[in-house]
Structures are given as structure tokens and as C-alpha cells.
């Protein structure tokens, strides 16, 4: 795959749209670290529940906080959740999957059954259980989502790695006396990396959705840390007075998830043009 001058960007509209949205999201999150139009902790009751205006582009909430500033700060939260949850799933899941593929036998069976078992608990249900035990909070929500990601990556990595293990060049590497660990690191992992990146993108989007759900239920990020799901929860009370409060955070979630999903689809097309033609 060369990205030379002949690379036809126009053939990958999903990739471009997705990358653009993701870039905006990350930029907003980065900017919000240093600057937001208004401080997100600033409560000004005098200007509560205002509609959009020149001063407050997206209006203010029930405490007079600037919605745009809150959304910017909330993007930080979503991205952080996505990274940590997917990170947990990716590192542990891929390690398990690689081990299962390299060793086969009992370990393989155990990893697969563990996956079956985890699938019995829907992510939100297991998150509810974990927060029931450990109390609500962003960290617990992230761990719950991350745990659910482990079997997803374990299965994917195992399946893809098994295919790589059956190829000729692995035999050559083995004949050269390389250890299983080195072969995994040098040959198997690079060959499945593309697939994993695509799946990680999709899981990232799912993690944002799951965290938003938990935060909406009051089980995720706790105040005063802004989070999109939490904002929707609070907006519900004031929905007849300030309907837009219940619109913007949801829009932010939907656009972010849509963008990241498109990026994932686009990456898959890029990595596997055959698949793209088959689906088109």
C-alpha cells in the first residue's frame, strides 16, 4: 500500500469524513485543556437557562454554565474514556489472543470459554454490577467497559493470529530457531496489526457510547467533571424550558461516534480493498 501521488483520496470519502471529524474532536479536546470560552466550573445563576446568543453560542445550563465550554471539556472526558477502555481491552485481549494462538490446547480453550462467558453479561449490565460493588465513578465505568473489550480483542487477535501461524514464512522463522515469543513479536503481530487498529476504532466509538449511557444513569463521570452523558441527564429536568440543552450534548455524542465509525470503515477499506469491492 503506497500513499504516493497516485493515491486517490476521492475514492475514500468515509475515511476523509471520519478523519476530519476525529481531528476536530481531538483538537477541541486539546484546546479545552488550556482554554474554553468560559470556565466550566463558573456558576452564574443570573444567566441560567439562556438560549444561544453571541456571548454563549450554544446557550447556558441550569447553573448558568456555558454549554459550548462544557461540550469542549466533555470531549476530553469521552476521548480519555475511549483511550483507557480500548487500551485495557487491546493490551490484555491481544496478549491473551496471541498466547492462545501460539500455544493452542488448554490455554486456547480457556481463553475462548472466558470470552463466551463474558458475552453473557452485556457491557452496561456488567458496568452496573461493577459500579454497584465499587461505587459509581469515571474510573469504575472505564474499567467495566474495558473488561468487556478484552474478549472482543482476544477473539479477533486469536483468529487472525492462527491464520498467520499457518503461513510458510512462520515455518521458515521456526526453522531458523526463533522462539515462539519472538515469532509472535516479529511476524504475527505486524500481520494482524491492521485488523486490530480497525477494531480498536470501532470499540473506541462503542466505549464513548457506553460511557455516555453510564454517565446518563449517574454511574459514570461524577460532577463537577463535565461529561456529555451527564449533561443529558441534567437537561432532562429542564426539557420543557430549555429543549436545546437536551439536543447539543446528544448531537456531540452522535457526531463523535459517527466520525470515529466512519474512520474505522475507511481504514478497513484502505487496508482491505478486496473487501471494499465486495461490499460496494
Amino acid at each position: 500500500m503506497s500513499l504516493g501521488p497516485g493515491f486517490g483520496w476521492h475514492r475514500y470519502p468515509a475515511l476523509i469524513a471520519g478523519a476530519a471529524v476525529t481531528l476536530v474532536l481531538v483538537t477541541l479536546a486539546a484546546v479545552s485543556l488550556a482554554w474554553t470560552p468560559y470556565p466550566v466550573t463558573e456558576l452564574v445563576i443570573a444567566r441560567r437557562l439562556q438560549g444561544p446568543s453571541a456571548a454563549h453560542w450554544l446557550g447556558t445550563d441550569q447553573f448558568g454554565r456555558d454549554v459550548l465550554s462544557m461540550l469542549m471539556a466533555g470531549s476530553r472526558n469521552s476521548i480519555a474514556v475511549g483511550f483507557v477502555a480500548v487500551g485495557i481491552g487491546l493490551t490484555l485481549g491481544v496478549a491473551l489472543g496471541m498466547l492462545a494462538a501460539a500455544r493452542r490446547g488448554l490455554i486456547d480453550e480457556a481463553v475462548m470459554r472466558l470470552g463466551d462467558f463474558t458475552f453473557a453479561f452485556p457491557a452496561v449490565l456488567s458496568a452496573i454490577m461493577i459500579t454497584a460493588i465499587a461505587g459509581p465513578g469515571a474510573i469504575n465505568a472505564i474499567i467495566a467497559i474495558g473488561i468487556f473489550n478484552i474478549p472482543v480483542f482476544a477473539r479477533l487477535a486469536r483468529g487472525a493470529a492462527l491464520q498467520v501461524w499457518s503461513r510458510d514464512f512462520i515455518l521458515a522463522a521456526r526453522a531458523a530457531g526463533k522462539s515462539t515469543f519472538r515469532i509472535t513479536l516479529e511476524h504475527v503481530l505486524p500481520n494482524v496489526a491492521g485488523l486490530l487498529v480497525v477494531q480498536a476504532t470501532i470499540q473506541f466509538a462503542l466505549a464513548i457510547l457506553a460511557e455516555a449511557s453510564l454517565a446518563y444513569l449517574g454511574l459514570g463521570t461524577q460532577p463537577p467533571n463535565p461529561s456529555w452523558g451527564k449533561m443529558l441527564n441534567e437537561a432532562q429536568t429542564f426539557m420543557s424550558r430549555a429543549p436545546l440543552l437536551a439536543v447539543f450534548p446528544g448531537l456531540a455524542i452522535a457526531v463523535a461516534v459517527l466520525g470515529i465509525n466512519l474512520l474505522g470503515d475507511g481504514l478497513r477499506d484502505l487496508i482491505d480493498p478486496k473487501l471494499r469491492r465486495a461490499r460496494a
Binding site: D116, F117, F119, A120, F121, P122, A123, V124, L125, I128, M129, T131, A132, I133, A205, L209, A212, S213, Y216, L217, L219, G229, L232, A235, Q236, M239, S240, P243, A246, V247, P249, G250, I253, A254, V255, V257, L258, N261, L262, R279, A280
Partner: protein, 316 residues
């Protein structure tokens, strides 16, 4: 076929026992004594001990686990610490809302998704197809609870057609109760339908490209007849897989949606139980929901075998 069923049933039981064991152990290591939760910290030691005995908390953990597990068969799931009523009664009450809600959502989403998928496949590479694909992307991106809020904004607050939440109860007549479930069911069903329609579309397209469809056409079947007799049955195999997977999302979604619409169903119950640390209720509901998911997967496996004869003759 019978052998196939039995094998699947055995796996089902093992998974259920493992799941319940995990839940039991997790709840066991939790700090907090249910008796103290019920009576408060100022209770007399004698009263506490009496209650513990009554609740069976004085017996060893393995024994309590087995008793608890047996409760799922006998229907005796213990006493809720906050409501002071048998958990089975609580669950039965709440199930009268969650059950119909989930069922309505499944029926609605299937009824929307399958025709839509068929439509898109028939309009492959044309505008209608692109529309369904875009609808599918939206379904993946829009969180169902926000969609629920939007429905409330439009149909309750602006138009005033349907209630924004709450549940009048079945005893007040079917009509008002059903009205209360319309928006929640739609909020739950539509995002799922969008995803399922995409899956249905590609499953039908894949099946349409198979050689046996060409054989059917060479026999003289019209395009439409080939679609009905040869494509759909084969396309149902991946569709049923996704529907089984979606069921667990649907259960999770129901928990959230019940909170959006203030419906006193299982989801709201488990949620309240968590905040009140009514752990017996949490434990029972979690296992019940996990059991439902596992059971649905079992049903999906059986459906596979019905749809695909290749699986039926599979022996080990």
C-alpha cells in the same frame, strides 16, 4: 437434532452456573452486612442475629449459594432488604413492564429492519440503498437514551400526543399502558433496526451473489421467486446471529430507556437497588438478565440448526 439440542443445553447450564457463581462470589466479598442495611447501624445485636438467622446468613457460603441457585427453580429468591417483599414478587411485577417493552422493541425493530434491508438489496447501488446505509450509520451513532429524549421533546412536549414518561399500570386498562410504552419501544427499537437493516442488506446481497441463485434462475424462476425461495432462507442465518447479539444490547438498552421514561421495570428496579445497596435484588436481577442472554443464544443456536441443515448433521 436431539443430540445437538442436548449438547447445547449442557453448555447453557454450565455457562449459567459459572455466571451465577461469579455474581455470588462478587457480591459475597462486598463489604456491608444485609442485616445491618435493613435494620440500621443502631440495631441491637440480638435482633441482628435473629434477622441473620431468618435470612439464612448464618450458614456457610457454599450452602447459601446452592440454596440461592435452587431459588431460581423454586421461585424463592429471598427477601428484598429495602422493600421487605420477596424478590420474586418484585421481579414479577416489574417484568410486566420490561417484558412487553422488550418484546415490542424486538418486533418493531425486526418489522422495520427486514423489509428495509430487502428494499436496499433490491435497490443495490441506487439511492434507496445509500439511504439505508446512512440510516444504519446513524443507528450505530445515536445513543438510544438521547433518541428517547428527542422523542419526548417532539411527541410529548411539542405535540403533546404521548406521555413523556411514567406508567399508569395494566390495571388501568390496556390502552393507557400501551400508550406509555410507545415512545420507549420506539426509542429502543429504531437504532437497533437501523443496524439490523444494514446487516440484513449485506446478508441478502451476499446470498444473491451465490451460485445456487444462478441455478434457480436457470431453472426459470423469476428474480422475485428466486429471492423468496432461495435467497431469504440463506440470508436469515447471519441475520439471526446479529439478532441474537442485539438481544443483549436490547436488555441493556431497556435498563437505560426505563430510566429515561421513568418506567418502573426491571431496569429501574436494578438501578434503584444499586443506589439503595439492596444487593439481593441486584444479584438476582443480574443473574436473571445474564440467564436470559444465555438462553437467547441457545435459541439462536437452535434456530441455526433449523435454518441450516449443515449444522444438524454435524457430529462430534
Amino acid at each position: 437434532m436431539i443430540q445437538f439440542c442436548l449438547r447445547r443445553l449442557a453448555t447453557l447450564c454450565v455457562t449459567l452456573i459459572a455466571a451465577s457463581a461469579v455474581v455470588f462470589v462478587v457480591m459475597e466479598v462486598l463489604p456491608g452486612d444485609p442485616a445491618v442495611v435493613m435494620l440500621g447501624t443502631e440495631a441491637q445485636p440480638e435482633t441482628l442475629a435473629a434477622l441473620r438467622k431468618q435470612l439464612g446468613l448464618d450458614r456457610p457460603a457454599p450452602e447459601r449459594y446452592v440454596t440461592w441457585l435452587a431459588g431460581f427453580v423454586t421461585g424463592d429468591l429471598g427477601l428484598s432488604q429495602t422493600y421487605r417483599v420477596p424478590v420474586s414478587e418484585l421481579i414479577a411485577d416489574r417484568l410486566a413492564i420490561t417484558g412487553p417493552l422488550a418484546l415490542a422493541a424486538i418486533v418493531l425493530s425486526t418489522a422495520i429492519a427486514l423489509p428495509l434491508g430487502l428494499f436496499a438489496a433490491a435497490r443495490h447501488r441506487r439511492l434507496g440503498d445509500a439511504g439505508v446505509m446512512a440510516f444504519g450509520q446513524l443507528g450505530l451513532a445515536v445513543p438510544n437514551f438521547w433518541f428517547g429524549l428527542l422523542l419526548v421533546l417532539v411527541f410529548s412536549i411539542s405535540l403533546g400526543w404521548l406521555p413523556a414518561g411514567g406508567f399508569p399500570g395494566w390495571q388501568g386498562g390496556i390502552g393507557p399502558a400501551m400508550r406509555a410504552l410507545i415512545l420507549p419501544a420506539v426509542a429502543l427499537a429504531l437504532p437497533q433496526a437501523a443496524i439490523l437493516a444494514r446487516v440484513a442488506r449485506s446478508a441478502i446481497l451476499d446470498a444473491m451473489a451465490e451460485d445456487y441463485v444462478r441455478t434457480a434462475r436457470a431453472k426459470g424462476l423469476t428474480r422475485r421467486a428466486a429471492l423468496w425461495r432461495h435467497v431469504l432462507r440463506n440470508a436469515m442465518i447471519p441475520i439471526v446471529t446479529i439478532m441474537g447479539l442485539q438481544f443483549s444490547f436490547l436488555l441493556a438498552g431497556a435498563i437505560i430507556i426505563e430510566n429515561v421514561f421513568y418506567l418502573p421495570g426491571l431496569g429501574r428496579l436494578v438501578f434503584q437497588a444499586i443506589s439503595q445497596r439492596d444487593l439481593i435484588v441486584v444479584k438476582d436481577i443480574v443473574v436473571l438478565l445474564a440467564g436470559t442472554v444465555v438462553f437467547i443464544n441457545f435459541v439462536v443456536d437452535l434456530l441455526y440448526a433449523v435454518l441450516d441443515p449443515r449444522l444438524r448433521s454435524f457430529r462430534t
